[in-house]
Structure formats: structure tokens, C-alpha cells
Symmetry: C2
Subunit: 294 residues, 2 copies
């Protein structure tokens, strides 16, 4: 706008109604959204992580990691995670919970699975491509409401390590994870992990109950002997809770014109405060709004 | 390495001494560093932010924001920040402190200054360019040990909003900030702020005392009425402290062959755990190691 010729500016000023109606901020855009711009977050694919501080809700991504999602749900349904601890909080990286020493027996589910680092592209599933370059992948965008990448339009796709994403911890072997160790990204997107772990979902509510935890002082942010533990009261699949106990959420759909408008509003911020719009947005800076169901 | 022809691989295996000596991880690389790979962090350009939880050390960047750095040091030296609060902690964004209502009179220093969003490139100052594409700027790399960008080799340069960077809060006008409000990035790099605020430095120790603070529940993460405040006991320039009270730090130089080796080790991780090296690193994922002075 700063270099618009005066005549063009004048002609814009002659259209006060249109100018006033175009949303300038994400808040204005969302206020103008329709019910159809939103989708219910499926309670059968949502985990409720219950901590002393409150609840963290995590949407699972069966389209990207079907076997791991099924296994994590089986573990959750058997109460396997209950009473374990958050064992690692590494600043600007991850918060992690589970059974690092593999000491807790597993009845329902399994401890390890073949990796699901990538999956074949489903040509019938919507993919909203970002217009900008990404250094880590040839193609990036959004699928199933989540940040994702592709190596070619029709080959492989994977979820990317943006803030709040849930991944499966593993040892050195690709097939050494299965869900008994889980981590959430709480810092700058560690995209170097993409295609190195199975990513299974995203925190949709309560991330601050993980990101504001005290950092561990042990190696790699593990809590050292004597540091306070953060117990997991319960980890449940939301659809298993009594209906009255469920928090029902909606996420903004990522396969709509409104979402593309949101991306553009964030590529070139029009909030009054911004003096130099970036003309670019990186994958992990695109907001993925969530609200209570209406 | 995965696609190396067998013959080449065999010839590499014939050089076991070199192969064994090449560092595979950042830890190994730093263990092999020389004293000259490090630089002392100048106590005359380091702030010590003293909270109830301990100390946060911040290296200032006079090369990028000389007037703001001088003003912030003048404010600190007069004790102006002492007894103010951290007023805002927004998840995945910033922790901010200062005098948001501009109620505290200023004797030494000033409240507002002309913006220092960018500065002319100093052709005599080293700049270590990153090899990879960056969506937000034509050229990125490291200057004065800090992440920076340029619009052309010889024109303007600016510090980028990576994790831990310290910026100057402002109102809508470019010249409405001066250092009475300061923020530190505690989440995914908000690069859309680049060239929109004056960036004055980087936290070099104790970031977890900011990043793990309770999030504010007010608009934009400001602490709401009744939420616990996080008081600033003192903010001092380290060179003004008694020598025995100073924490002396060194930062890895960014203008050395060793630093370029570090960048390459992080572009293509050779730790055993990594199965698919990224072949890329984004500016804000490059570690900038700091250690106690030796």
C-alpha cells in the first residue's frame, strides 16, 4: 500500500463500503466466518490428557499414522498411561511423557510398530497448498486440518513438526517406537525431525499446561533425580467419556476459501500495527484456530 | 551418504583415522573447538535481568541498534526498570516487561526513539551467509554472533526474530518505542515482526526463567487483574556489577570455519538417531552455543 500511486489510492477511497468490509485481521475474518467454515473435532480421535493443572486435548491424525493412532487409543483405553509422568521438558524443543525404561507391562496394544514417517498421498483428500517456498520440503500445506508436506504431488506426504504437534518417541531403529513415549513440540519448529518420527496429532487445547512446565535439568531436558514429577492422572479417548464430561471443540477447516483468505491475511498483515508486511508465511506460523462447539 | 556408490564407500572405509576423527555431532564438534573459536561476551553490552527465580543474561547488539542499546543501558543504570513487572507472557510468542501505561517518569534516557528496524550493511563486518533459501529475506546468516538478514549484499541488514531475541515494544507509530517495553521471543520464530520492531539483543543464559512462566490469560497474553505478577528485582549492565558478582560467558564465534562446520552438521544430522537428514536448516534452528568463560 505504501507505494500506491495517489490516483489509485483516491479511487480506493471512493469505495468506502468495500474497503470497510474487507477483514483486516484474523479476528475480523473469523467473526465473519460461517458455520460451514468449521469442522467438529472427532471425539473418537481426540485424547484428553489430564494433569493436576487441568486438561490438554489432542486431535489424532489417523490419516497419517493409522496403526500408531489405533495403538495409542488402545493403550489409553486400557488405562496404560495413567500414573506415568511427564519425564522430559526441554526448553525450545519438546515435553515428553511415557515409560522411558519400558518397565510397565503392556496388555492392550503393543510397544513397537513399523514406522509411519510418511504415507502415500490420498488423491481424494483435500490439500491446501501454501504459496511460499519451504526449505525442508518441495510442497507444504494443510491436510486434515494439519500442517503437512509432500515430496511430489502424488507420492508421499507427512505431518510436519510445528508447535503443538504430537510425535512418537523412538530409539535409534525406525521401528522402535509405538506410542509408549510421546512428545509435544513446545518451541521453534524442529523440522529436522520431519520424516524421522511418526507424527500422530496436534494439541488443540491446553498446550500451555505443557509449554510452561519447569524445564528438566538433566541431559536433553529429562527431569533429574529429585526434580518434581508431573504425573499423568489419566489419558483418555474423549468419546469414552460421559457426554456431559466432554469438551466439544471445532477447528477451522483448512480446505475452504476462508482459510486461504486467512493465510493471505497472515502473509501480508494488514493490522494497523504492521508497517512492513512480510509477503511470506512459513508453514508453522499459520494459525489453526479452534473454538468451543456452538 | 545413503546413495554413495560402493566403491567410494570402500575408499572412505580405507581411511579409518579420518573417519573416526570427523565430529558427528555438535557436542563432538564443540569438544574439538579451539579457544579462538569463542569470543567473550562483552559485559559492557550485557544486561542482567534479576527475577525471584534467578538471573537472565542478555547480550545487546549495538551494531544493529546503537541508539536503543544506549538508551536501554541508560535506563538500566538509573535503576529505571527495577520494581517493574513482567506484564505479558503469550504462549508461543513473547514474554514482555516494562511500563505499559507509561506511568513511571524517566530521568536518565528517553521513552521513545526513531526506529532502528534496519541498519546499513557494514562492509567491514563479517557476515556468515546461510546456504539455504529463506522465505522472509533474500539473504540470511550471522553477524556479530546473531541471526540476521539482508535485502541485498550491500544495502540493509537487520536482526531476525528467532527464539530468545530481545525486541523493543512499540505502539502503532514506528518511533513510539525506545526500550521502556521489552520482549523476548519464547516460541516459534515470529519472523513477521522482522523490520517491524527494533531488535536489540539475545538471551544468552536463563531463557527458561521467561519461557516457563505462567501464561497470561488476558488479551494477547497480558496478565489479567489478580494473576500473580513476576517482579523485576533489578536490571543491570553486567560491567557495572562488582567483578566477583559477574557471570562471565563466551559465545561461539559465527565467523569461523568451525561455525560453518556446525551449520553443516545441523543441516545434515549425522547423529545415529537421524535416519533422514534434512539437507536444510532454517535460520532460527541454528544453535548459537554459549559457555562459561574459561
Amino acid at each position: 500500500m505504501r507505494h500506491l500511486p495517489h490516483l489509485l489510492l483516491a479511487s480506493l477511497l471512493a469505495l468506502p463500503v468495500c474497503a470497510a468490509e474487507a477483514p483486516r485481521t484474523m479476528g475480523e475474518l473469523l467473526a465473519a466466518s460461517a458455520a460451514t467454515d468449521w469442522r467438529e473435532i472427532d471425539p473418537a480421535n481426540t485424547l484428553q490428557l489430564e494433569l493436576d493443572s487441568g486438561v490438554v486435548l489432542i486431535e489424532l491424525a489417523p490419516a497419517f499414522a493409522p496403526r500408531h493412532v489405533a495403538n495409542i487409543k488402545a493403550l489409553a483405553r486400557s488405562g496404560w498411561y495413567d500414573g506415568l509422568d511427564i519425564v522430559r521438558v526441554q526448553d525450545n524443543f519438546v515435553a515428553q511423557w511415557g515409560d522411558p525404561e519400558s518397565t510397565r507391562p503392556i496388555q492392550s496394544g503393543v510397544r513397537t510398530l513399523p514406522a509411519e514417517f510418511t504415507v502415500p498421498v490420498d488423491p481424494t483428500a483435500p490439500f491446501t497448498r501454501l504459496p511460499d517456498v519451504d526449505g525442508y520440503a518441495p510442497i507444504t500445506g494443510f491436510a486434515s486440518g494439519l500442517p503437512a508436506a509432500r515430496d511430489a504431488p502424488s507420492k508421499h506426504t507427512w505431518l510436519t513438526h510445528c508447535y503443538g504437534m504430537l510425535g512418537v518417541g523412538r530409539d535409534n531403529a525406525a521401528d522402535s517406537g509405538g506410542g509408549s513415549e510421546l512428545y509435544v513440540v513446545i518451541g521453534h519448529a524442529p523440522r529436522q525431525l520431519d520424516r524421522n518420527t511418526t507424527v500422530v496429532g496436534r494439541v488443540v487445547s491446553g498446550i500451555e499446561r505443557l509449554s510452561a512446565l519447569p524445564r528438566g535439568t538433566g541431559a536433553m531436558g529429562f527431569y533429574a533425580e529429585g526434580e518434581p514429577r508431573v504425573p499423568i492422572r489419566r489419558l483418555r479417548v474423549v468419546s469414552d467419556l460421559a457426554p456431559a464430561d466432554r469438551i466439544r471443540l471445532e477447528a477451522l477447516r483448512t480446505d475452504t476459501p476462508l482459510f486461504q483468505e486467512l493465510v493471505e491475511l497472515r502473509r501480508n498483515r494488514r493490522d494497523e500495527w504492521y508497517l512492513a508486511p512480510a509477503g511470506h508465511i512459513d508453514l508453522c506460523s499459520v494459525p489453526l484456530p479452534v473454538r468451543l462447539s456452538r
